[in-house]
Symmetry: C2
Subunit: 375 residues, 2 copies
C-alpha cells in the first residue's frame, strides 16, 4: 500500500515465468501488436505511436523530453511536487529554457497560472503531472491543454500514477505526448514506461534539426522496431512485455470505467474511515487522488516509527513524505490490485492499533463502520 509498486495479479506473475522467446520471434511480434492495441484502449487514443519504452516511468519522462526538445527551446512545466521538479531537471539537461509554473506541494496547477506563463513565452510544449504521486493531488488538464494548443504549443502529460486508476482521455483532451509507469494502477511490475505521441508530436520528433541526444530513447529509431519494419534496435525486455500484456488484458476485462469506479470507491472508504479516527487527507480538497492518499501525520505522532511498525507488525508498506512534506504525511497507495476493501480495512485496523498504543484514543470500530457506510 505504498506509492508503487502495487501488488500484482497471480496471472501476471505467472506470465513472467514463461520461457523466453527472441525479440524478433513471430510470437513476440504478435504480442507487441497486441500490447500496442491494448495500450491505445487504456490511453483512449488512436495514436499509432503508442508503445512501452524499455525503462521505468522516469525513462518515459526522458523519452518525451529528448524527442521533443531541441537546445534553446522554451518549455512551460507545472511544478507542484517531486515529478514536476524532476521534469524541469530533465528538460534543462536537454538544453531547454524552462518556465516554471509553481504551486504549493499538495495543491493543483491552475489554468490561470499556465495562461499567465504563456503570455511571456512561445514554448515548444506545456507539461503538467496529472497525478502527483508525491502529494496526492490530481491536476485537471483539459483547460490547460486548450491553452497550450491556443498558444501553438504541444501538451505533455505525466500519467504515471493516473493511468487506469482514474479517467485519462488522451484524444478527447488533446494530449500530444504522454508517459506512464507499469507499477501503479496497471499493477504490473516496474520496468516499462508506456508512452504515446500524437501525429503532431511525432512530426516534431521526426523533423528535428539535431539528432535526439539519447540513442536508447530516440523515437526515430524505436519506430522502426515497434512499427511494421521490425528493424532490430535494442533487445526488448521480453519478460516485462509478457507481464504488461497480461496486466493490460486484466484492465480491459475489468473495464476502464469499472476500474476507475473501484479506485474511487476504495478511496472514499479509506477517507471516511480515517476521518472517523481524526485523520485527514492533506492534499487539496476536491482534487484528491483516489489511488494515492496523502494522510497528514497528527501532532505528536512519530511518522517514521509508525511506518516501520506498519511494515514489521502488519506487513503493510506505506510511503513517506518527500521534500517539503517529509515527516508530515504518510502516502497510502490504493493502486490497481491493491485497491480493495480488505486492504482498506487492514490499513484502518493497523493505524487504529498503532495510534492507540501511542496513547491516542482511537475508535477503530467507528472507523470501520464509517468505511462500510461510505458507499
Amino acid at each position: 500500500m505504498g506509492p508503487g509498486p502495487s501488488n500484482v495479479s497471480p496471472s501476471v506473475l505467472e506470465a513472467m515465468s514463461r520461457p523466453l522467446v527472441g525479440h524478433l520471434d513471430p510470437v513476440f511480434v504478435k504480442m507487441m501488436e497486441e500490447i500496442k492495441g491494448m495500450l491505445r484502449a487504456v490511453f483512449l487514443t488512436k495514436n499509432e505511436m503508442t508503445f512501452p519504452v524499455s525503462g521505468t516511468g522516469s525513462a518515459g519522462m526522458e523519452f518525451c523530453c529528448v524527442n521533443l526538445i531541441e537546445p534553446g527551446d522554451d518549455v512551460v512545466i507545472g511544478v507542484n511536487g517531486v515529478f514536476g521538479t524532476r521534469m524541469v531537471d530533465v528538460a534543462e539537461r536537454c538544453g531547454a529554457r524552462v518556465i516554471k509554473v509553481e504551486a504549493p506541494w499538495g495543491r493543483i496547477i491552475e489554468p490561470a497560472q499556465i495562461a499567465a506563463a504563456l503570455a511571456t513565452c512561445k514554448p515548444k510544449f506545456v507539461a503538467v503531472v496529472h497525478a502527483e504521486t508525491s502529494t496526492g493531488a490530481l491536476t485537471p488538464v483539459e483547460e490547460i491543454s486548450r491553452l497550450a494548443h491556443d498558444a501553438g504549443a504541444l501538451m505533455v502529460l505525466d500519467t504515471v500514477t493516473s493511468l487506469a486508476g482514474c479517467p485519462v482521455r488522451l484524444d478527447e483532451w488533446g494530449i500530444d505526448a504522454v508517459y506512464s509507469g507499469t507499477q501503479k494502477c496497471l499493477s504490473c511490475p516496474p520496468g516499462l514506461s508506456p508512452v504515446s505521441l500524437s501525429p503532431r508530436a511525432l512530426q516534431v520528433a521526426t523533423s528535428r534539426k539535431k539528432k535526439v541526444q539519447s540513442w536508447y530513447l530516440d523515437v526515430n529509431l524505436l519506430a522502426s522496431y515497434w512499427g511494421q519494419d521490425r528493424v532490430y534496435h535494442h533487445t526488448a525486455p521480453i519478460t516485462m512485455n509478457y507481464a504488461l500484456h497480461e496486466a493490460l488484458r486484466l484492465v480491459l476485462v475489468e473495464g476502464l470505467e469499472n476500474r476507475w469506479a473501484r479506485h474511487q470507491r476504495n478511496h472514499k472508504a479509506l477517507k471516511a474511515g480515517l476521518a472517523a479516527m481524526g485523520l485527514e487527507i492533506a492534499s487539496q480538497e476536491g482534487h484528491q487522488l483516489w489511488q494515492l492518499n496523502a494522510v497528514r501525520v497528527p501532532e505528536g505522532v512519530d511518522e517514521m516509527a509508525t511506518r516501520k511498525r506498519l511494515l514489521t507488525d502488519f506487513n503493510i508498506e506505506v510511503g513517506a513524505g518527500l521534500g517539503p512534506l517529509k515527516g508530515k504525511i504518510w502516502r497510502i497507495g490504493l493502486m490497481g490490485e491493491t485497491s480493495n476493501l480488505a486492504n482498506v480495512c487492514a490499513c484502518l485496523t493497523a493505524f487504529g492499533q498503532i495510534l492507540n498504543d501511542a496513547g491516542r484514543r482511537t475508535d477503530t470500530e467507528a472507523a470501520l463502520a464509517a468505511m462500510g457506510q461510505s458507499n
Copy 2:
C-alpha cells in the same frame, strides 16, 4: 540458440513470479547489496560502483558514454561490427569527436591500430567491443587497455556477450568502465545492464563541468540509490532484480572457470560437427567466440528459408547476419543455459536434415561423431 535472449533456468523464472516488494523495502535493499557483491565476483573487480542499470545492454552503453563524455571530448572507438558502430553514434550524440578504428566485420581490432590512433589525439577514453555479437569475433583487450592508460585515457569495454561466457577480468586488465547485458551468458531475461566504473572513471563522472545529459542514467544520482544513502531516484525494476539475483547465484554456484570451460567445450563440439558437414565459422580463426558462432552460409543455400525452417520445424532460433554480413552468416548462440551438448546435437541434426532436403549430401552421423570426439 539465437544471439540472445538465451534460455533461462527454471529457478530464474520462478524468482520472477515472487510477489513485489517496494524499491526501498529492507528486503530489497539487502538484495541490492547481494547483487552488487555477486556482480563484482562475476566481473572480477573490486569496484564499489558496480550495479545493474535499469535498461537493456544499450542503456549500459549509453550510461558509460553520457557519464564520461563532455562535449568536445575526443574518444577512440573500435568498430568491427554492429555494436562498435552503435557506440560511435551514442558517443557523437554526447558531443564527442570520435576517432574510429575500423576492422572488417568478423575480424578483431589490433593493438597496433589503436596505437596508431592514439598517436593522433588525446582521447578521454578508448573503447572496444570485447565479444562482437554481430560477427562472432573476440578482441583481446589487455594490450589495448595498456595502450589506453599509457596515453592517459580511460579504457571502456562492451562485455554484453562475453561476461560469464569467457574470461572477463576487469581489475587485472585495467578496465575503467564496462557494461554488459543480462540476456546472454548470464541467462537472465533482458531488462538490466550490469555496469562497473573504476574509481578513476567515477572521479571523471563526478567532477564534470556540465551535468550528465541523461537524468535517468546519471551516475551522480544513481550512486545515492545504489550506495549507502538509499535516496529514491527511480523505481527499480524489482522483478528483473529478483531474476538477476538468482541468475548470478547460479553462475557462482557453477563457478566462473567451469562456466567458461563449458562454453568452450560446446563451441568446439559445434565447430567440429559443422566442419564434418562442410560448414565453417566465418569469424577470424583464433579469435572465434565460444558463445556466438557465426556460420558461413554455403553457396546456393537459402539463408532465410533455412532459418525459418529451423524455427518452425525444429523449434530452434538462430540469428541472421546484420549489415555487410546479411544473408552471409547464421549466428548460432551457445550462451549460458543454452550452451549444452543436447542443443549442439539438436542443431547439427536439424542442419543436416535441412541441407539434405535441399539436395546437398550431408553426413549427419559423421557430424555427430565429430562432435562427440571433439573433447
